[in-house]
């Protein structure tokens, strides 16, 4: 006896159909992985502890459906081991397959019921009456015809004997759209619509060698590139048959692929003799085909009939469809997917030209697979959420466009003429790519973010919850928010008398990790700010997609607008823009925007209410009462009550400390009357077009920044620095002396950084900076009296672990956000990383660190 071969699509829902005892479970064990099979008996046991408890059937099938649904959604072949003899029970499973756009296959075990009865008798756990078996058998017989025809199975295999069952060989085959193994490289070509000459131009521009002989066209690429056509080969244009000839040779010779466009489909139906409306340029195609042979027309019909809705290439990294593809459709097949791939989605409404309004599915797309499509003519191809439309309306006098993959390069040729007048202007009513709306799902809940510098950074749900409020109520438009600065850890606590922080520990952090080349930068005491500056307002619109008129933005470390006053903001940004233009950084760096990491002074500009409510308030209360206390203690002492001497000394000292504390905060305050009162100290050139600079030596940054500062010494403030070799003791002493000098004259302190900015050793990511704050400055952090020996002792136990870990995670996320932005990642991807930083900032950590 020959083996019965059963062909299963790799992703399908397989129903085993047969009465109890017909051998379904044995069959399933033999041919499928245990996890691929869901049996109703098992589900019954799951919910009722008893495989045969018929009262649990309903619940058991709910569980079965649920598990099957999850597996299919995840793209896993699933086998249902249940009797499935009633049409009703099969129906819900077929619907499940449809909902998940997978094919359903039935394997029917149609054997003599007496065999089944005998088997059941032998089984100890079964006490079925024959009556039940026979009832099932009759239901099966009634089902057989329907199973063969109309129930919605792609294939039905009926096995009529035990021998036949035993002879089965199962083969799994790929779906037609599965070209995961083909890694290209590809040139994906947009809607051609009979524009043959432009197609030839484009292929030549792409370096294809085209020859023609009696077999037709021969097309090869010296680097073995392959072509993928997005469909709509025909209609409207002058040479549809030639286009067909060329594309057919490409496809049959294996040099390329073609997906099904709606015009191609309509032509096919016409050629098959269906009654279709001769509109939208079909008339032209039919007229051109008049001159072709009958044989050719037959070939065209077969070719078009063989076109499939979409292809998935390169391990799932790339998919091509005519009008688009939803993430959940990728690599699956169903009538709905076929329709979607041909027509896209519509809102159900029509516009003023009577054409359906297209629903921009790409706005909702969140997949990692790149989707390349056409169908809707647009002026310029533009990326949106990992998708790109490359139909540039050649037949309407636009361009014929190719996307080179994986290079993501766009190559176009212009149409020689307008071959067909569009009903509405190209680009009309096409979704405005700038008008991007984010979804709460892009940020909410627990998230795991993979970054270049650190794998799998977890954002806990409670942190997201806290950050949603901050982000939505206070932060600027997400389109501007391409970065947030990470928190920075202080140095390990110093053990030197009178010091809580000292440069030695900061230097040691790096030295211990064999990082010897450091830069020590003066730490400005103002407010951290990120400044994005564009060459002009058009750049803001094109690159940042903002809809309002702006040349840039300046925002705080929590993503809030730095300026509440529009006029100040505008003047401020113009000053930065002028400076950049003056030294012609635009050309020097080959960019038309810059993102700068800065400190803006004075501190009081942004922290006024904190200063008034806390710093000045405490100073005011303390000074008032300490004066009086000193006075009364002196009076008491003068009454010869000498015991108070000790207390008097203590409180006099306190008064001195309060004065030092007041001096400490006053240094960082001055009044802002105009824009001239601000000082801007940039210290990193974070990113510009095509480049993130977190891998560049700090001297590179400071060198450019110093040029900027020299243009306007009143507005810009340079960042003083010292280069340090940690192996050189003299050098270290010099830097420490410099730190003393900085901090004793009122400076906040310094930041010690690896000269090379970002360092990742085999063991760990290195802190990009360790701050070391001055003795006087720390009064406003740890309190006026923190230097009292007893206090200082208590304060020395600080726990830096969490702070340091946050600093690294936030640094990795910021780095990631910038990289995503410069690589034109979808907005939601950039936002995810930036949001992660804000979320981590809600982690409760000692605020004084």
């Amino acid at each position: 006896m020959n083996n019965q071969v059963i062909n299963l699509p790799q992703l399908s829902l397989v129903l085993l159909v047969g009465v109890s005892g017909s051998g379904k479970s044995t069959f399933a064990r033999k041919h499928f992985k245990a996890t691929e099979v869901i049996s109703s008996d098992y589900c019954r046991a799951l919910v009722a502890d008893d495989e045969n408890d018929q009262t649990a059937t309903r619940d058991a099938f709910e569980v079965l459906n649920f598990i099957a649904g999850k597996r299919l959604a995840a793209g896993k072949l699933t086998v249902i081991d249940a009797t499935n003899v009633q049409a009703e029970s099969r129906k819900s499973l077929i619907e499940l397959a449809k909902r998940n756009h997978v094919l359903a296959v039935a394997i029917v075990f149609n054997i003599d019921p007496t065999i089944c009865s005998e088997r059941n008798v032998l089984r100890e756990d079964r006490d079925f009456e024959d009556r039940v078996i026979h009832a099932q058998y009759h239901q099966l017989q009634r089902s057989l015809n329907k199973l063969r025809k109309s129930e919605g199975f792609t294939r039905t295999y009926i096995l009529n004997s035990v021998d036949e069952i035993n002879s089965v060989i199962i083969e799994r085959h790929r779906l037609y759209n599965d070209k995961l193994f083909d890694h290209g490289p590809f040139d994906i070509i947009g809607d051609i619509h009979g524009c043959f000459d432009e197609l030839i131009d484009l292929l030549q521009k792409l370096n294809y060698q085209i020859t023609i002989n009696e077999q037709g066209y021969q097309i090869i690429h010296p680097e073995n590139r392959k072509i993928v056509f997005v469909g709509d080969l025909v209609d409207r244009g002058p040479k549809s048959p030639d286009v067909l000839k060329l594309v057919m040779s490409v496809v049959t010779s294996g040099v390329g692929y073609c997906v099904n466009g709606n015009h191609d489909n309509k032509l096919k139906r016409k050629l098959m003799g269906n009654d279709v409306q001769i509109t939208h340029g079909l008339k032209e195609t039919l007229a051109q085909l008049e001159n072709e042979s009958h044989d050719f027309k037959l070939k065209v019909k077969d070719f078009l009939d063989g076109l499939i809705s979409h292809y998935v290439f390169d391990d799932g990294k790339l998919a091509v469809a005519h009008a688009g593809l939803r993430e959940k459709y990728i690599g699956r097949g169903s009538a709905r997917i076929r329709d979607f791939c041909m027509y896209g989605d519509t809102t159900g409404e029509t516009d003023e030209f009577g054409l359906p309004i297209r629903y921009e599915w790409a706005k909702d797309y969140r997949g990692n697979t790149i989707i390349v499509y056409g169908h809707t003519p647009i002026l310029e191809p533009e990326w949106l959420n990992n998708t790109i439309n490359i139909d540039t309306g050649c037949v309407f006098g636009g361009k014929l466009t190719a996307l080179r993959y994986p290079e993501k390069e766009i190559i176009s040729v212009s149409a020689a003429q307008m071959y067909y007048k569009p009903i509405k202007p190209i680009g009309h009513n096409v979704v405005d790519k700038n008008d991007i709306i984010l979804d709460i799902e892009d940020i909410a809940g627990k998230r795991i973010i993979n970054t270049q510098l650190l794998n799998n950074i977890t954002i806990r749900e409670e942190n997201s919850i806290a950050a949603i409020e901050t982000m939505t109520r206070f932060a600027i438009d997400p389109r501007w928010l391409i970065y947030l600065p990470p928190t920075m850890s202080p140095s390990e606590t110093s053990h030197e008398a009178n010091y809580l922080e000292h440069p030695r520990e900061a230097i040691n952090y790096f030295h211990k990790r064999s990082i010897y080349q450091l830069i020590c930068q003066e730490k400005h005491m103002g407010s951290r700010a990120i400044v994005i500056i564009c060459k002009n307002n058009q750049v803001a619109k094109n690159r940042f997609k903002v809809t309002h008129d702006a040349i840039g933005i300046c925002y705080t470390r929590t993503g809030r607008n730095f300026f509440s006053d529009n006029e100040h903001e505008q003047q401020f940004l113009e000053k930065v823009q002028n400076a950049v233009s003056k030294i012609n950084l635009w050309e020097q760096l080959n960019t038309d925007w810059l993102c700068l990491d800065c400190e803006i002074m004075p501190w009081s500009a942004k922290a006024q209410s904190l200063i008034e409510k806390q710093y000045a308030a405490v100073g005011c209360a303390a000074e008032a009462t300490l004066h009086e206390i000193s006075e009364l203690l002196l009076k008491t002492k003068n009454r010869a009550i000498n015991q108070v001497g000790e207390i008097e000394e203590k409180f006099n000292k306190r008064l001195t400390m309060i004065n030092a504390y007041r001096d400490a905060y006053r240094r960082y305050c001055w009044n802002i009357n105009s824009i001239e009162d601000y000082k801007l100290a940039p210290f990193h050139i974070l990113a510009f077009e095509n480049q993130v600079n977190l891998d560049k030596n700090h001297l590179w940054h400071l060198n450019i920044i110093n040029q900027l500062c020299d243009t306007d010494a009143n507005f810009f403030k340079k960042t003083n620095y010292k280069i340090l070799d940690t192996n050189n003791a003299e050098n270290c002493d010099e830097v420490i002396a410099w730190w003393h000098e900085l901090t004793s004259s009122g400076g906040e302190g310094m930041v010690v950084k690896p000269l090379d900015f970002t360092i990742k050793t085999a063991r760990e990511l290195i802190q990009p900076g360790i701050k070391c704050r001055g003795q006087e400055y720390l009064r406003i952090i740890y309190g006026p009296e923190y230097l009292e020996p007893a206090n200082l002792e208590k304060l020395r136990s600080r726990h830096l672990g969490l702070k340091r870990s946050l600093a690294l995670r936030e640094f990795a996320l910021g780095h990631e956000a910038l990289n995503r932005f410069i690589n034109f990642a979808p907005l939601y991807k950039v936002h995810e990383a930036v949001f992660g930083i804000l979320a981590l900032e809600s982690e409760p950590v000692d605020p004084r660190l």
Binding site: D439, D442, I465, I476, T547, K635
Partner: protein
């Protein structure tokens, strides 16, 4: 922190007997939060001054309260060591316990003797303006001298602080003076360093005997002393004040709150009733209240049977937690089926909000930066697209009628903008046009001919 008590009753040094502290010595007491010292800068026949000085260590203060998150995250820079607060009351009770108990072993006749007394609180915090200082002490017979300190003499433009030096003069018993200080110092400071429980009610009742029940500011004193509303209500009941709900707490905040401004007109209630009647008129069955806050509208909707499905959304998890409590959601399965609360944001789409009949966006848009309104309107009008949308926002013109509001100011510090009627209507008409809605407007609250109503409402109906 420092308190001095002076008498000119002769012989003034009798103060030492009354306080049980010898004027020629330094007396030091160890308390849990630091040391208390009593000493006499002046002690002669005519005049005697006792000083109570608390030496509080701010660092151990913070360390000690580890685990209490609010305290732990507070910076070490705080005013606690310097200003008179509940620490002072604790110290008074410890150091002058006998005096407060009315005992004087050596000269018992002094206990009930009224005498000229002066108390000076070196620095006290008072966030609600100096009037309350007078209102608290003058009814008890004190003559009061107040000095308010400027914040920082180097920066005169920063203005005046909320710190005061207070001198109180009266002819009374020392015991009364200390009792009054014991209760009123923490009332003014409004920040207690220890947990307040029911035992505090007894303490307050005991200390307040004979003066608190007739004090015109008794409600204020009780509420501030006890801090927690439940306890305050109980205490007020003990004092037989029934009308608890009508308490006007005019000193509650430093700046007048939006609610307080609008309270006289009971605007919130009128607003909710107006919205309810619109919702009823259009017979909506499902409603999303966007920016539901603590759930005032949700609560009103809960008792409207016609509404089957209600969702309250807010970006603030704390607001949602409060709404959950206010609605008693945990107590009612019935309500839980009809009402759900979700955290979401006005500038992000949320699929959970698709398919509702109506959206109410009540006093919310003014809390958004104007630059985000474009995103907001698309999310509401383009994505959610309910049949009915109600938006209310303050009518800025009406602000001029709020006496307590500085001219030109917004009603709430978080308002990013407030619109005149013309501005709101212009924006609404454009939005309605753009997205296929019809809009009509209605004022909510008392109507002024010139300035309109305090709240303005736009009712948007989707074109079918």
């Amino acid at each position: 922190m420092l308190l001095t008590i002076t008498t000119t009753n002769q012989p003034a040094t009798d103060l030492g007997y009354l306080l049980h502290k010898h004027p020629d010595k330094l007396h030091t007491f160890e308390l849990s939060f630091g040391n208390a010292h009593v000493f006499y800068p002046v002690a002669n026949q005519d005049k005697c001054t006792a000083a109570l000085l608390l030496d509080i260590d701010p660092i151990s203060l913070v360390r000690k309260s580890k685990g209490n998150e609010n305290f732990a995250l507070q910076q070490y820079v705080n005013d606690r060591p310097y200003v008179a607060s509940s620490f002072m009351s604790v110290a008074l009770n410890r150091v002058f316990r006998s005096t407060l108990a009315g005992q004087c072993k050596d000269k018992p006749e002094l206990v009930n003797q009224s005498m000229p007394l002066e108390a000076k609180i070196s620095v006290i915090f008072c966030g609600v303006g100096e009037q309350i200082l007078k209102n608290l002490f003058e009814p008890l017979g004190y003559t009061i001298t107040i000095q308010q300190h400027i914040l920082d003499e180097h920066f005169p433009e920063w203005g005046i602080s909320n710190y005061f030096t207070l001198i109180l003069k009266n002819n009374c018993t020392l015991r009364d003076l200390l009792t009054h200080l014991y209760v009123l110092i923490p009332v003014l400071d409004n920040e207690k360093h220890y947990y307040i429980d029911e035992a505090e009610i007894d303490k307050l009742m005991r200390m307040g005997q004979g003066w608190l029940e007739s004090h015109p500011e008794k409600e204020f004193i009780i509420k501030r002393y006890l801090k927690f509303k439940d306890l305050a209500d109980e205490a007020l009941e003990q004092l037989a004040i029934n009308d608890v709900n009508n308490l006007t707490n005019q000193y509650a905040h430093e700046t007048v709150t939006e609610e307080a401004l609008e309270q006289s007109t009971n605007l919130n209630e009128i607003r909710i009733n107006t919205i309810l009647s619109v919702l009823k008129e259009y017979r909506v069955k499902s409603i999303m209240d966007i920016g539901c806050g603590e759930g005032k509208l949700l609560k009103a909707l809960a008792s409207e049977k016609m509404v089957e499905n209600i969702v309250g959304c807010d970006a603030s998890p704390t607001a949602l937690a409060r709404a959950q409590k206010n609605l008693n959601l945990e107590q009612s399965d019935f309500l839980k089926q009809r009402i759900s609360l979700i955290q979401t944001a006005l500038t992000y789409r949320d699929k959970r909000l698709l398919g509702f009949d109506a959206a109410t966006i009540i006093e919310v848009i003014e809390h958004l930066d104007q630059s985000r309104l474009d995103t907001f309107k698309r999310i509401i009008f383009e994505f959610y697209r309910p049949k009915l949308i109600i938006i209310t926002t303050p009518n800025h013109e009406y602000n001029i009628l709020f006496e307590k509001l500085v001219h030109g100011a917004f009603r709430h510090p978080d308002h990013r903008f407030e619109w005149t009627r013309q501005q709101f209507e212009q924006w609404s008409n454009l939005v309605a046009d753009e997205f296929g809605y019809k809009v009509h407007f209605q004022g909510i609250g008392s109507q002024s001919e010139k300035f309109g109503s305090p709240t303005q409402m736009g009712v948007f109906i989707r074109n079918e």
